[in-house]
Symmetry: C2
Subunit: 438 residues, 2 copies
């Protein structure tokens, strides 16, 4: 028997019907002892998230506008949930306290966090689980950075006192007791911190999709979810812009080597995606785990005859970029050419300065600039070492008549990175997806 931390996102907790589903899910597996909840999300596409409404209250207060109508809407949603779930909990007490704090100039972080707080109160009551406030356990320093060690110890000590617990996600408090929210990753981080602290066997992250998708659904029509993916693979995909769990949300679980299972509250029988530290090559699954692409790169190619064999040239190139505080994405090189691939966001308005410096400090014959570059990462552990992967990838691009501007695949790589023209990005991702998935 193991222990599972289950985190439910906003859409899984948007109303009583959704919360009933989560109860069924939790009760189906006695290991699901630690529940982390988000604030209620949208019930339908035009609906508002509770957290957005809370931020709106704060804005009204700042502009001396009446926020009470909006806050009434928030109260009404929680009250309706309470009524529908037939639970006995004194929400009015909490509403009153929050309104008092709002009037007394409570911080934005405090206000934003109340959706999770109230939802955790409601759901703990509905499940018959203990409510534990994250504000008492998750600790930030005065600069707003998480104090990992103290947090881990607090969570561990408190949670072992309870058999079954609901915690609000998204926030903690500093040492003065002021509420602080996570700047990135939200309730996912809370779940991962809890999983690490109690040394969980699994961190289940329940959402409204049946796992992480192999490609961006705005680009590929109805992409398949990944069955399993390693932290490393996920990192490569997320770096290239794939919408997955935020790094901050993965790291605590990764450090403790706890598998993450992304599940769909609306389709609880789907296996979802397992995120683990190891390589998972099940035969069912394609060797390519996912495809992600990013626009907005510039390639600067420096040609100098007799460059190869010169020691220190690549060092000089990278030093110059470091002086500009520009990270170097890739540095493919031929015999007498070195290209540097740079994310445009670091280059804005400075391209000419960078080129001037290359000109000054490198005795280049020619320097070419290509600012119409998009990169595509095709990711899968071991994929690159399997004969045929590259052939399938480049044949797929060829069939779509897509010009390849750059290729980068390292020796121990789980990733083939291809550069194409910006206009070709979506066509290229679709071509690669089709080549490996169908």
């Amino acid at each position: 028997m193991g222990v599972k931390v289950v985190k439910f996102g906003g859409s899984s907790l948007a109303d009583a019907i959704q919360i009933e589903k989560t109860k069924n899910i939790i009760e189906k597996d006695p290991d699901r002892k630690y529940v982390v909840v988000s604030a209620p999300g949208k019930r339908f596409s035009e609906d508002n998230k509770i957290t957005d409404l809370l931020y709106l209250c704060k804005t009204h207060i700042e502009h001396n506008l009446d926020y009470r109508q909006i806050f009434q809407g928030i109260k009404d949603r929680f009250t309706a949930v309470k009524a529908n779930l037939k639970i006995d909990v004194d929400l009015d007490k909490h509403f009153k306290e929050i309104e008092e704090n709002l009037s007394n100039g409570a911080s934005e972080d405090y206000i934003a966090s109340r959706g999770e707080f109230l939802n955790a109160i409601v759901i703990s009551s509905y499940l018959g689980y203990d409510f534990v406030d994250s504000a008492d356990l998750i600790v930030f320093d005065e600069r707003g950075n998480l104090k990992k060690e103290v947090t881990n110890q607090n969570l561990r000590e408190e949670l072992k006192k309870h058999d079954r617990v609901v915690l609000p996600g998204f926030y903690g408090a500093n040492e003065s007791g002021d509420i602080i929210t996570f700047s990135r990753g939200g309730s996912d981080v809370t779940g991962a911190l809890v999983a690490k602290a109690i040394d969980a066997d699994m961190y289940e992250n329940w959402t409204d999709v049946s796992g992480l998708l192999m490609a961006d659904p705005r680009i590929v029509d109805n992409p398949k979810p990944m069955k399993n993916v390693s932290y490393k693979e996920l990192r490569e995909l997320s770096y290239m812009g794939a919408k997955v769990l935020h790094e901050d949300a993965i790291f605590p679980a990764r450090e403790a080597d706890i598998p993450i299972n992304i599940r769909n509250t609306n389709r609880p029988d789907d296996d979802g995606t397992f995120i683990t530290s190891g390589e998972n090559l099940d035969s069912e699954n394609s060797i390519v785990k996912g495809i992600a692409g990013c626009k907005g790169f510039t390639s600067i190619s420096i040609y100098q005859s007799m460059l190869s064999g010169q020691k220190g040239f690549i060092r000089k190139v990278s030093e110059i970029l470091e002086d500009f505080d520009i990270p170097l994405e890739h540095i493919p090189n031929g015999i007498d050419t070195v290209s540097v691939i740079i994310d445009n966001k670091y280059l804005e308005g400075r391209l000419d300065d960078v080129l001037d410096m290359f000109d000054k400090r490198l005795s280049a014959d020619t320097i070419d600039v290509d600012d119409d570059l998009a990169l595509i990462a095709t990711v899968g552990l071991g994929m690159a070492r399997r004969p045929g992967t590259a052939a399938a990838l480049f044949s797929a691009l060829y069939e779509e008549n897509i010009n390849i501007k750059m290729i980068d695949q390292g020796s121990s790589e789980l990733n083939i990175i291809v550069g194409v023209a910006t206009a070709d990005l979506e066509k290229a991702i679709n071509a690669i997806y089709k080549a490996f998935v169908n």
Copy 2:
């Protein structure tokens, strides 16, 4: 009307029959005014090159052995050529002078150069061209380095006094008048220097093959010659081990933008290979100009989570290699991995030291070493930008079930570099050759 410098290699001048062929070639085109000659080469496969015999004379003298029998063989070859060509030239005078110098401890360079000297005497007489001794024009400094400016000026001034000239290749002299031979590139360098000095329209380099071959004939059966190739393409191929003209022999012509035409004395109607500065994409020719491969590389892959976006990591890696005085061939990188590809010859006995230093100065999670790496360069200007090249290349490797360890293609590249296991090198080159040539 233009001016051509024609250089003939040893096999083109091995005996009277060969020299007759060169005369026909020269007389067929009145532009062929400047002739640079090598020493007589082998007439048949077990034969000796004159230059080798001359070196052997020197070795005999150093060991106090009688060299006269060997020198007699050299004299006999020249005398036979003279008789067969029916020319009137006093070779005995030169033989006598050389023997005197030999007895008086002449330098190795002096002795080695006499094959070219005597051959130029013979051929100038046969053609009715002026003989000009390179020793009076090509100048080396006291450390044996070519003095380019003085040489260029000397050649220019002297040669404009003559309508048609034969010069011996391979040597010049220092300012004290001592003969100095080129350490690399031999008579090819002389031809290129002459071509540059007189601003020739073409530098014809006559050999025993109908041009530069698209692949190593020891690996690919009967490879086709290239029709044309640019200096840049040639440089990429030669760096990867293709046997082509030596850099030193190309540079003077390249500097002056003089095309080089590699021709076959035994098949003078073949067009041979044109080496030019520009891109030559004729429709007859494959977009791939050549394929060259090299064994003996090691890949060191450094993995560190959250490496991407770190500034200075590539700089640190290249600094460490620079400290070891190791040039960096390639540095493919993924999101959290940087691989460095190093030529084994720089690594000998020091791999552990390098790894220790990586360990100490980079906070890597893991470092993997793969010392079974061969690199293949598939070269052609513009090739990399043409859709389908990569597809054809990787499909060819896939059909042979060859595992791809690394890929490197830069943004303005004329070269796709692929890493394979050492044992796969020859199979891979053949597969790529077949994919592009047939």
